[in-house]
């Protein structure tokens, strides 16, 4: 496996694996979050969040997830810098829109926007749960006799009280959807899992997945903003 990591394809393979890993995380994250809009009492979401916070498997996965993000971002930066250097003199006129999708040409920008959102997102929620000394500690609620943090109250009050944050979260969902509209099929291509037939299938599943993720995450703040949660 000598110099696998320094080769272009090797880096892309790692990029792809980290991307797939982040995709798996998104599926779990969205499924859980949708509990927010299926139960206005907040009990379902609180049970879900409590389960995630106390489950030993999740405890192990959390640092791996963080590593996944770090690897993805570092490699994305290295690849992007190398790619910019590969064309020291640019074209005076370039009509790229004719031959490649906008998302595929702007993965780094989309990723960067997602990263900015990620920082704000962690500050909004994660900080209050993990480092209550630095944020606002969560209230305690009791569901079926079990004491737990009222994560539902934290999320719903942010969205009910701030149009700005609602819009920010909707925008981030759109960026994530666009990132995935190229990223999904791309990570299969990068590990060589594609041919003439599978490419069409992967592209379609990718578009579908991008829409599910984009709409799925966007719908949550909009639900609270529209007053459906009371």
């Amino acid at each position: 496996m000598s110099n696998f990591l320094t080769s272009s394809i090797g880096k892309k393979v790692i990029m792809s694996i980290s991307g797939l890993f982040l995709i798996a995380f998104l599926i779990v994250h969205l499924s859980l979050n949708l509990l927010l809009i299926f139960d206005n009492s907040g009990e379902l979401f609180n049970i879900g969040a409590h389960f995630m916070a106390t489950n030993p498997i999740i405890k192990v996965v959390e640092p791996v997830l963080a590593l996944g993000f770090v690897v993805h971002i570092i490699l994305a930066t290295i690849l992007t810098i190398q790619n910019m250097k590969a064309r020291p003199v640019g074209y005076a006129r370039s009509e790229q829109s004719n031959n490649a999708s906008w998302a595929s040409r702007n993965m780094f920008i989309l990723g960067g926007l997602i990263l900015i959102f990620l920082v704000i997102h962690l500050y909004n929620f994660w900080l209050n749960i993990k480092l209550p000394e630095l944020g606002t500690p969560l209230e305690i609620t009791t569901v079926d006799g079990v004491e737990m943090e009222n994560a539902y109250l934290m999320v719903s009050s942010l969205f009910k009280n701030s149009v700005f944050f609602c819009m920010l979260y909707v925008l981030a969902a759109i960026f994530l959807g666009l990132h995935l509209s190229h990223g999904f099929w791309s990570c299969f291509q990068s590990v060589g899992f594609s041919n003439k037939i599978w490419r069409k299938r992967l592209e379609w599943v990718g578009y579908l997945f991008a829409i599910v993720i984009g709409v799925g995450f966007a719908i949550i703040p909009l639900y609270f903003l529209a007053g459906f949660a009371g």
Binding site: T6, S8, G90, Q96, N98, N99, S186, Q189
Partner: protein
């Protein structure tokens, strides 16, 4: 198609004395060009005009002028080989342009393809990649008898598709990352699909990818721009095969 005359065209052309000089765009006017003229003939006419005016002619690459050698290049109005899909510049005709239009003509832009003069770039990088492994290193005798080595039809078809690559460089020139993956994939695929080339497939994939990286081509991000500009319609499915071959080879190490 009836012949029409383009009364006036404005040409913005990259001029550069040699590899070391700084280049710049020069603007030229050209008159009364038939729409049946090929793009390169139009440049020939411009050069004749420059000779009459005792000016230095514009250097550009060309050879067969029938779409088979891969010598012609040119980034025309922001597209490799101009506005048509699936053709080389020598197959492009002036009927694709409108009277009064300004046409921007640039050389391939890629660190690995340095400009030699005007619109000519040095594409030796592709040859170096081929020299690294794009061959079968056994001395064969004469042509084997037909059907003595059975090859499945779909394999033969795919290998033939990959073999259509003429090494023009449009893929790397158009790719936002200046990646040469489509070219390398075509060469690796073509040989890996056939029994004669299969034996060395692992060594070939590693050597050619290493050379491609060393020469400063960028990393593929699967945008697919190469395939839509390739005059020979090489599919990026070949890039998936190259990724597979490379991974397999590295796992065997």
């Amino acid at each position: 198609m009836s012949e029409n005359i383009l009364k006036e065209l404005t040409l913005k052309i990259w001029r550069q004395k040699d590899a070391k000089s700084k280049g710049r765009f020069e603007t030229y006017k050209i008159h009364n060009i038939s729409t049946d003229t090929s793009f390169l003939e139009m440049l020939d006419i411009l050069n004749e005009q420059l000779v009459v005016e005792s000016k230095e002619t514009i250097a550009f690459d060309h050879d067969c002028r029938e779409g088979i050698c891969g010598m012609c290049s040119l980034f025309i109005n922001g597209r490799a080989h101009g506005p048509d899909d699936e053709v080389t510049t020598c197959q492009l005709h002036m009927r694709r342009f409108k009277d009064g239009e300004t046409i921007t003509i640039e050389p391939w832009r890629s660190g690995a393809f340095p400009v030699v003069k005007d619109l000519i770039v040095d594409r030796k990088a592709f040859e170096k990649i081929l020299q690294a492994g794009g061959y079968v290193s056994v001395n064969t005798g004469g042509v084997p008898d037909a059907n003595s080595i059975p090859i499945a039809n779909d394999k033969a078809e795919e290998a033939m598709d990959a073999a259509a690559c003429i090494g023009c460089g449009a893929c790397a020139a158009t790719c936002k990352n200046s990646s040469a993956m489509l070219f390398v994939a075509a060469k690796v695929s073509q040989l890996a699909l056939l029994p004669q080339g299969k034996i060395e497939a692992a060594r070939r994939a590693k050597a050619m990818v290493a050379k491609m990286d060393e020469l400063g081509f960028g990393n593929c991000t699967n945008t697919g721009a190469c395939e839509s500009e390739c005059p020979k319609q090489i599919s990026i499915s070949h890039i998936a095969r190259l990724n597979r071959e490379f991974l397999k080879a590295k796992l065997q190490d």
